[in-house]
């Protein structure tokens, strides 16, 4: 009887991604842009529109299912000249209101960013290509950063300090400035090739 009472009360609950986090996706009017390195070699970025999925799950209380949950996942991919596959992917998922998964893939690495009380932090990134665990990095939030005479607001600045990992591949980003609404604005590959957004 009790079981029937519990199961009949199962409701579908949708956990949406916080609107404040959606500003980190690249706006579609800024999705095509060029970067130029210090040797004047130019590459073109194309960032696709965001895709939204609902990840199914359930909540329980005393072994009884209380909710059919749907966790919203929004992700956005981008490619760049010469890099095989997607060079950029931002994925944000709201898991049961208890945690937000915020992952930023850039070239060979994946930064997993912890979000708590509107504070962002990241102390290590996954070497996504080598599949051999994590690499230490630092992350700081900047109010603004200037690139090619243009000032960008609200920046995530990542820096990888493991020189062996950086020097092993030209597609390993040693530093990244990522701006709200814009995406990558400045980065360095392999510790030697610095690229600036035009």
């Amino acid at each position: 009887m009790l079981l029937v009472a519990f199961t009949s009360c199962v409701k579908t609950k949708i956990h949406y991604v916080d609107n404040d986090l959606k500003v980190w996706f690249v706006d579609q009017d800024k999705a095509d842009f060029m970067v130029r390195d210090q040797n004047d070699i130019v590459q073109v970025f194309h960032v696709y529109d965001t895709v939204t999925d609902m990840i199914p799950g359930s909540s329980y209380f005393l072994c009884f299912e209380t909710n059919d949950d749907l966790c919203e996942n929004i992700h956005q991919d981008g490619r760049v000249t010469y890099f095989v596959g997607d060079a950029l992917r931002l994925s944000i998922t709201n898991y049961y209101e208890t945690s937000t998964h915020f992952s930023l893939y850039f070239y060979d690495v994946c930064f997993t960013i912890e979000v708590a009380d509107d504070q962002f932090s990241c102390s290590e990134c996954l070497d996504d290509r080598a599949l051999v665990g994590t690499v230490p990095c630092t992350m700081e939030m900047l109010d603004s950063h200037e690139v090619n005479g243009k000032s960008y607001q609200d920046i995530m600045h990542f820096k990888i300090t493991d020189f062996d990992a950086i020097s092993s591949r030209n597609t390993f980003p040693s530093e990244l400035y990522y701006a709200k609404h814009y995406g990558p604005i400045e980065y360095e590959l392999g510790g030697k090739v610095r690229c600036l957004r035009e």
């Binding site: 095509d32 040797n39 004047d40 070699i41 000249t81 010469y82 890099f83 392999g190 090739v193």
Partner: protein
Amino acid sequence: MKKFVFLLIAFVSVICLTGCPGKEPEVIDLGTIPEKYLATVPYEDGQTFYLQHESDRNIIPFKVSRHRILSQGNDAWGFEYYGKYKPAPSVYFDYEVDVTTCKPDYPIFDIKLQFSNAYMADSLYYHQPSSQKTAQLNCHNLYALFPLIGEPTGQVTMLDSIEVNGHTYFDVFEFVEEGSSQDIDIKSFYYNYEKGVIAIFMSNGEKYLLYEEE
């Protein structure tokens, strides 16, 4: 009598279900790639060559990796592909594939050259008429074939000579890519048997030119 008929039917059924033992397929060894064809890709394993980015005189080293791989193919691919009829392959061919990969010490394109002696097998799916023995060239958006012997066809033309970085190169294949996209693509690619990659022109006007020390 009934027992005999039953046994006969059972015997015939077993034969039908298991089938007759197949004939062992024949294996033909096509041997090694002739030296004259190997020479059409003038790179050695471990070698480094240099392309110069014209706009800033940036010199990019390309490290060469070259290997020959033994491979095997059969003569039934065409039937299998169309899904209408798939006979057991009656002939297998052992052949060599020569693969050259050029990796830059810079975040730009790789260059890959590949060819085999599978053309010697008339029915092999890699088969090309003997007048069109070709090598594959892959680089960024470019996929092209150039002849190991004979005259170029299709998108490939032969230039008598081209001058690059103060050097004159003769008998140069020119590959022109006519497609257009929003990305920066290879527009034309220049190659000869003697030096390999000579120049690459991009759709945005950038040029990569063979750099040879004086």
